[in-house]
Each structure stands twice: as C-alpha cells, then as structure tokens.
C-alpha cells in the first residue's frame, strides 16, 4: 500500500516539477522582454505592457488558466489543446504569461533601482554603453533581483497545484486520488500530508539555494 501511494505521489511530483521548470524557462526571459516594454520611451508600447501586466496581476491565476484552456476551443476552428499533453501545455502557457508579468516588475525594479550615477561614472570614464551594462550595472541589478525573485519562485512551486483545475494530474491530484479509496481516516489524511511534505522539502532546497546565492552576492552593498 505504502509503495503504491509513494509511486503515485512521485509521478505527481514529477509532473509538478515539469510545470515548474517549463514555467521558469519561459517566464524568466519573457519577463525581461516585458520589463523592457514597460520602460520603453515609445509610449503606446509602454501603455500596452502596463495594461497587460495590470490585467494579469489583477485577476486570479485560476481564472486565467480556465480561460486559456477552455476559450480557444470555442472561438477557434480547432481546439489547440486537443493534442497529447494538451492540458499540460495549456497550464504552461497560463503560468508562463502570469509569472512573466510578475517577473517583469521585479526586473524593472532591479534595473531602475541602480542609481543613475553609476552609469554616469562609467560614461565619464570613457566606457561604452555595453561595457557599462555588463561591467557596472548588471551585478547590481542581479543583487537587487534575487530576494524578490526567490520569493516569487517559491510561490510558483505551490501555485502549480492550481493546474489541477483543468484536470492536469500533478502532485495534489495524485494525493487526492487516494482519499476516495476505502482506507478510512488514514486514507484521508496521510496522502495529503505526504503531498505537503513534498512541497516543503522542495521549497526547503530552493530556500537553501537562494540563500547561498544571496550570500555569494553579499560581498558588496
């Protein structure tokens, strides 16, 4: 019995990890692009990106997930999600868009948080714009970004549970399946307790990892 539960939870956890990894891979670069849009000197682009970020951050991820999964089927001649792993990709798209918007604001804060004087000091010393970015501002940006980023990434680990709204079988789904069995009370709380442990352990690892990165960057202020 225990082995069966563990195996099912492992499979569920693997799916959770997959969504987590794909979301990061997509949202980290997309967020940077959005942040450039929101700092653009071209005002229509700036307003457009501000509008998108407002909508995405202003509505529940669960709602966005449902819209992205169900609406294309109604308005497009062919449902793009009616493929193998369609539920996963629908979830991935919703998560990437959602997290890219949050990341973009963190990037923007990091970029705008570096004092103008740093750039001017580079200019006065005859550096090119590229040199100033890579040699002067980048590290200071990274240092500013790491704490809010780690916060957001830990939230993402737990948010992946929302993907079960569209019937995608991640970790909670796997744990929940056992509650319908005939194991009485134990069947009710053990599987869920275990799913909790998975999240806890994984986030514990991430916390240690981010702590190390922060410590590495603490040699300057």
């Amino acid at each position: 019995m225990f082995a069966t539960v563990l195996q099912a939870l492992n499979e569920g956890f693997f799916e959770t990890l997959k969504l987590f990894a794909v979301t990061l891979l997509g949202a980290l670069p997309l967020g940077l692009i959005i942040s450039f849009g929101s700092m653009s000197k071209f005002s229509p682009l700036r307003w457009l990106t501000h509008g998108i970020v407002w909508i995405i951050r202003g509505t529940p991820l669960m709602l966005q997930l449902i819209i992205i999964f169900y609406v294309p089927g109604y308005i497009l001649p062919q449902n793009p999600w009616a493929v193998e792993n369609g539920r996963f990709w629908a979830a991935a798209v919703a998560f990437i868009i959602n997290y890219a918007c949050y990341f973009s604001e963190i990037y923007r804060g990091g970029i705008q948080g570096v004092p103008v004087g740093q750039q001017e000091a580079g200019q006065v010393l005859g550096m090119t714009k590229t040199q100033i970015f890579f040699k002067v501002t980048l590290m200071q940006m990274v240092k500013r970004i790491v704490p809010p980023m780690s916060n957001e990434i830990i939230t993402l680990v737990k948010d992946t549970a929302i993907a079960r709204m569209i019937g995608w079988q991640e970790l909670i789904y796997a744990g929940y399946a056992f509650m319908k069995g005939s194991h009485g009370y134990a069947g009710l709380y053990w599987p869920l307790l275990f799913t909790g442990l998975y999240y806890l352990l994984f986030n514990g690892l991430l916390t240690i990892l981010f702590g190390r990165i922060e410590k590495k960057l603490s040699y300057f202020r």
Partner: protein, 261 residues
C-alpha cells in the same frame, strides 16, 4: 588650455546657465564658487558631456571639441573619447560597489587597453602596468592599506580619495571636482583637501566647485563666482575672495566670512 565660450543650458524653460565664458591655463586650478542652484554643477556636467549645452562651444588646446550648432562635434562614439580630456570626481563618489578600491581604479584603464592594437601581444605587461599604476595612485592618496576593501568598508573620505585616484588613472588633462568636501565631516574634509592641495602643487589642471572659501583662496589660482546661471565675477583667487568688486559677490562672501575665515 580650456576655453568655454557662450555656454547656455536650459532644462525645459528654466535657464540654468546663461552665456558662460571663461578660460583656464595649463597647470592652473580654478575654483567655482556660488550658492546652491547657481549652475556650478551643471557647468561641470556640461564639460564632461553629461549634459548637452543648448548654445556655445568648448575648446581644449585650441581644438573645438563641442559646438552646440555643429552636430558633427556631437557624435556618440567621439564623445566617449572626448570625455577623456576631462576627469570628474562626483559629489557622491559613485564608486562601483561590487569592485574593490583597486578594481575601481583599474576598471576603465583595463577596458580602454583592450582597444589598443598591441593588446593581444602584450596583454600581460599592459595589465601589470595598469595594476602597478593603480597601486601607486592609491598610495598617493594615502590608501595603500585599503586597496582590497570594497566601498562599503571605507569611510566617506576614503571613498572620495578612491574616486580621485579612479579619475587620475585615465590621465585627464583637466580634473573636475564637484563639491569635494560636501557630505564629509570636518576631519574627513581635511584628508580630502590635503590630496587636492598636493595635486595643485604638482600643477594638475583642475576645476573645483566648492563651498570652502578658505580652501579656494589658498589652493586655486583663479576663482569664478556664479550666481543664477551667470558668471558675476572672475579673477585671481585672492582678489575675488578678499576684495570682491561685484555687490553680489560681496553679499555671498559675507555669509562665509564669520564662520570660515
């Protein structure tokens, strides 16, 4: 060596600099005095191409390096090179926090060295030279013990001296200081002024925006008094500070006379 002709600068509709003219001879130190908001800092920023004047010309060694009416003097990649005529020590240092004192002094030289044609062949020698020079400069400003510390581990006066060494590393023809002693307590002020004084003794060409009247009188060869964006009075340092001719200069200096001199 430096000629500033008819420089004007507007921010929106506010005229910050109105028709500024002055000259500076090689080896001289020029002090710019005046109350806050008189345009002193903006003038320094114009010389360092951090602001673009709306009118006027800047000449170094008789060569036109900036003309507001001639876009060919304002090309981005040339400006980068022209900036090297000038060095600027910022009011709030603007040291790079992620680098040690020595790395701060070396960074720009290392990057510029990469543009040299013989860089690949002589890379080691060039880098050794840059390191030796940085160490030498930091020793000159009294920081031989602090070279490997990061800016946040240094006091304000020490940071200021690193910033001076960093500017000197590029051998600017004219070194500009933007209020070198503001934001420093009296004790730290002394150590920074000592460094500037020793530079003056070595005939470094300098422009110093300052509130230290006694220092301006003793160190500068020439003083320019600015008020509301115009040069009200200029002349030899002792004359301007001890016997100002213009009413506005007298009024300004009267406020300092009791406290400082």
């Amino acid at each position: 060596m430096l000629e500033v002709k008819n420089i004007s600068k507007k921010f929106g509709t506010t005229e910050v600099l109105k028709d500024i003219n002055f000259t500076l001879e090689k080896g001289d130190a020029l002090a710019i005095i005046g109350s806050s908001g008189s345009g002193k800092t903006t003038l320094l920023r114009c010389l360092n191409f951090l602001e673009k004047p709306n009118k006027g010309q800047i000449l170094v060694d008789g060569k036109l390096i900036f003309d507001a009416d001639d876009p060919s003097t304002q090309k981005e990649n040339e400006i980068r090179r022209k900036r090297l005529h000038f060095g600027l020590v910022f009011q709030n240092f603007n040291l790079f926090p992620q680098y040690t004192a020595k790395e701060n002094v070396m960074l720009a030289s290392q990057l510029l060295a990469k543009e040299r044609e013989d860089y690949k062949e002589k890379k080691k020698e060039i880098l050794a030279e840059i390191t030796a020079e940085a160490e030498d400069l930091l020793t000159q400003v009294g920081l031989s013990e602090k070279m490997d510390l990061y800016p946040h581990q240094l006091s304000g006066g020490q940071c200021k001296r690193v910033a001076i060494a960093r500017a000197l590393a590029l051998h600017p023809e004219i070194l500009c200081f933007d209020e070198p002693t503001s934001a420093l307590d009296p004790e730290l002020t002394g150590e920074v002024l000592k460094v500037i004084r020793s530079l003056a003794e070595k005939d470094t060409t300098m422009i110093i925006v300052t509130h230290e009247m006694a220092f301006a009188r003793d160190v500068a060869d020439k003083v320019v008094f600015m008020d509301e964006g115009v040069v009200v009075e200029e002349g030899p340092a002792h004359e301007v500070i001890e016997n100002p001719k213009a009413e506005r200069t007298r009024h300004f200096l009267a406020r300092y006379s009791q406290e400082q001199m």
